[in-house]
């Protein structure tokens, strides 16, 4: 799907002579854009060609060639395959690239991430601060020549562990006996540290009032330890009375270096790590990563495996939406009772996950070319019982309790509105996008796996408020139940693995972008292989993270009490926001 169709190829290079050239590296696709004319090209792409949705911005460090590359994925919200374009800049200091925020505001947080992790300066970016690490951290960690304090070797399996088989504590190799490293001659007593300074400067607290006096707005920090932030998320809001004047999400409190570790791991080793991205929906994460690597390897999973995958992915969606509904109600003040109803059903789904994969949450069930093992005996009747009898009834019951509730209606309807134009502009995805009236669902817009065989509706609501986001989740659960019902009926017999079991998969060089419609939105995995056992670049297009771009614009003008409700309705998971 990342490959543009041949017809487009001709059109584009003729349309932008001297700006575009096809990416001719073996295994690569897309277009190389002339650095100086990026903005002009992107504006034409958005306005004339209809590629209105910037899905992903990421950087790649080609250390041997001395180049940095920024990769953009754009789509049309009317559906169809995407378009990839890239720009390359020399790996000098500083690495500068024009910022696309003025054309696609959805690039804001992603460009900040690329600045933080790769040190690419986006000229023209309104607020280029570090995002995942703190201000003042030494170095840009995703660069290939930056080594973490516990660095042993470039790639796994580490020689000390295999084949030598000796146990080495990572602490014993570090200078300080801990996971820390400092620049040479660093003396902590000679300076003070204030990582917050840049944040508060960006919030601009002082404003002149009509008399010309300095009036002070109040800054309130919500989180990182707060019961309504769904984890260690922090929001810094500037208040005028109770009204929100400005809001900045602050994240990185759960940044556990997924991508850096992922580039040291072999391809198959990353599978269990993907579970821990969005830890409420591990099966979907597996799905996206498996798709990306299968595209590189040119493998097709077996029929039975495809059906099992779809079933598991849809069950995950239901489990995630149940949790999202319960958590949103928690935030609205209905503490824990709706959550108990939701968790009751979620536990039944987790039982199925435990039966097929051995673990309740961290399933690690997908493999390249299929799934790890077949459905064990007794699971299929259980699924049938749950999806034909119990779940449809229970969802209606929870819906009946909630959707007419006066408090939910008064706090949800017309509050926290994201318009359709803004949703596209800020690259919102998933239920957030569909509640704003854009019927964009990757399962329909650009079908992967076997989703084109199932009958289901793309859920859409038009108001874009908190209530609609809640209702979209209910409707999506109903559609997922439909899909699982069809999959159970059509499930064929046969093997569940297309490949022979092997210790390490061989992945030919090239790039691939696998995207699935995760419960929170479009989940993409951008993987580059250079033929070695480990990926050269491994990037996750995390929907929770990118959905937060629109969090500020939604909240500005609302009351401070609505922040938690809006955040609950966006439904973030910190493992995926921070990675």
């Amino acid at each position: 799907m990342a490959n543009p169709a041949p017809v487009q190829t001709l059109d584009l290079s003729a349309r932008f002579p001297g700006v575009l050239s096809p990416d001719t590296r073996p295994g690569y696709s897309g277009w190389m854009v002339e650095n100086a004319r990026l903005l002009e090209f992107a504006a034409a792409l958005r306005d004339d060609l209809g590629y209105d949705y910037l899905s992903s911005v990421t950087a790649v460090d080609y250390l041997p060639e001395g180049k940095m590359e920024v990769v953009y994925h754009v789509y049309k919200t009317t559906g169809g395959p995407g378009l990839v374009f890239k720009i390359q800049v020399p790996r000098a200091d500083p690495v500068e690239v024009p910022s696309l925020v003025s054309i696609y505001p959805g690039a804001e947080l992603q460009e900040r991430e690329a600045w933080d992790l790769f040190g690419i300066k986006f000229t023209g970016h309104p607020d280029l601060r570090r995002i995942l690490m703190w201000e003042g951290f030494a170095g840009h960690p995703m660069r290939k020549d930056w080594h973490e304090p516990y660095f042993e070797e470039e790639a796994k399996p580490l020689k000390s562990r295999w084949p030598d088989g000796t146990l080495i504590m990572a602490e014993s190799k570090n200078q300080y006996g801990d996971n820390i490293a400092y620049p040479k001659g660093f003396n902590p007593e000679s300076q003070t540290f204030d990582p917050e300074k840049a944040l508060y400067a960006a919030l601009r607290t002082y404003q002149k009032d009509e008399l010309g006096l300095d009036t002070d707005h109040i800054i309130v920090n919500i989180g990182p330890q707060h019961p309504s932030t769904h984890g260690v998320f922090r929001v810094a809001v500037v208040l005028d009375g109770e009204k929100i004047v400005n809001l900045k999400p602050v994240m990185g409190y759960l940044h556990r270096n997924h991508e850096k570790i992922g580039e040291r791991n072999t391809f198959i080793m990353n599978m269990p790590y993907t579970d821990r991205l969005d830890y409420l929906s591990s099966m979907s994460n597996n799905f996206g990563y498996a798709l990306a690597v299968e595209k590189l390897m040119n493998v097709k999973p077996t029929e039975r495996a495809e059906y099992i995958r779809v079933m598991m992915a849809e069950m995950t969606r239901i489990a995630n939406h149940l949790m999202a509904i319960g958590a949103l109600l928690n935030d609205l003040g209905a503490f824990f009772t709706p959550m108990l109803y939701a968790l009751e059903e979620r536990e039944l789904l987790l039982d199925i996950f435990e039966a097929v994969s051995g673990s309740r949450m961290m399933c690690n069930y997908f493999r390249f070319g299929g799934v790890a093992r077949d459905l064990p005996e007794g699971v299929l009747p259980k699924i049938k019982d749950l999806f034909f009898e119990r779940l449809p009834r229970k969802i209606e019951e929870i819906d009946r309790f909630l959707s007419g509730n006066e408090i939910i209606r008064s706090r949800g309807i017309g509050q926290g509105v994201l318009t359709a134009e803004d949703a596209i502009k800020y690259s919102a995805a998933g239920p957030l996008l569909r509640a704003s009236g854009i019927p964009y669902d990757v399962r329909r817009a650009d079908p992967y796996s076997i989703y084109d065989r199932f009958e289901f509706d793309v859920v859409v609501r038009t108001n874009g408020d908190i209530y609609d986001r809640l209702m979209v989740r209910f409707d999506e659960i109903r559609q997922s139940i439909r899909i699982v019902q069809q999959a159970v009926k059509q499930l064929p017999d046969g093997p569940v693995m297309a490949l022979k079991p092997m210790y390490q998969v061989r992945v030919p060089p090239g790039e691939a972008y696998g995207r699935v419609e995760g419960p929170k939105g479009e989940l993409g995995f951008y993987v580059i292989s250079n033929g070695k056992p480990t990926p050269w670049r491994y990037h996750v297009r995390a929907p929770s993270f990118i959905n937060l771009t629109s969090f500020g614009p939604i909240c500005i003008g609302q009351k401070v009490a609505d922040v938690v409700a809006v955040l609950g309705s966006i439904d973030i998971v910190l493992g995926e926001v921070d990675r």
Binding site: E171, Y182, G231, R256, M362, G575
Partner: protein, 205 residues
Amino acid sequence: MESNELNSPDYVIPPELQAQVAITSLDKIYNWGRSASVWPLMFGLACCAIEMICAAASRFDIARFGMEIMRPSPRQSDLMIISGTVTKKMMPIIVRLYNQMPEPKYVLAMGACASGGGPFKEGYNVVSGVDKFIPVDVYVPGCPPTPQALLNGLMKIQEKIKGEPIKTARWYAKGPDLAEIPIPMLGPDLIDPRKITLIQNGEKS
């Protein structure tokens, strides 16, 4: 707890009074009360927090142990469940929360990450176990531990509480044990104020 369990074994109570009267030591009744009303801090870090929520929900029902009252404020809580990966960026906040909790306080490291870094140990932003900074009472293995495993860990905390005599309790004594833990700083990397001389010398501990 039944009154005969609470009773000290050396005293004989007439059978007609056994349901109403128990003769016991102050230690026993004090610890019995404490162990059956441990209030955890409502504080989720990562994946393990979801299993913590499941443990609090109806299927596993943490309320059976008197622990269902999760307090969002550290000032009102007795137990800190470190439920997930501890990152360097989060470490100063965790230490601050720990310092704000009143004694007696307990820490339970839930899962592989909190206990020793877990699968993310090699990451540049990950602290190799929360015990590098704050003392941990119980470690629960697993990634993530099932709710049953967490409940087992909580029962171990209860066991520990029941074995602490008032006489030697550290929160009634004066001494270095009760000193606040210095809050780490975020410089070019995480800086532990207790290790400043080590960092200046650049030597191995």
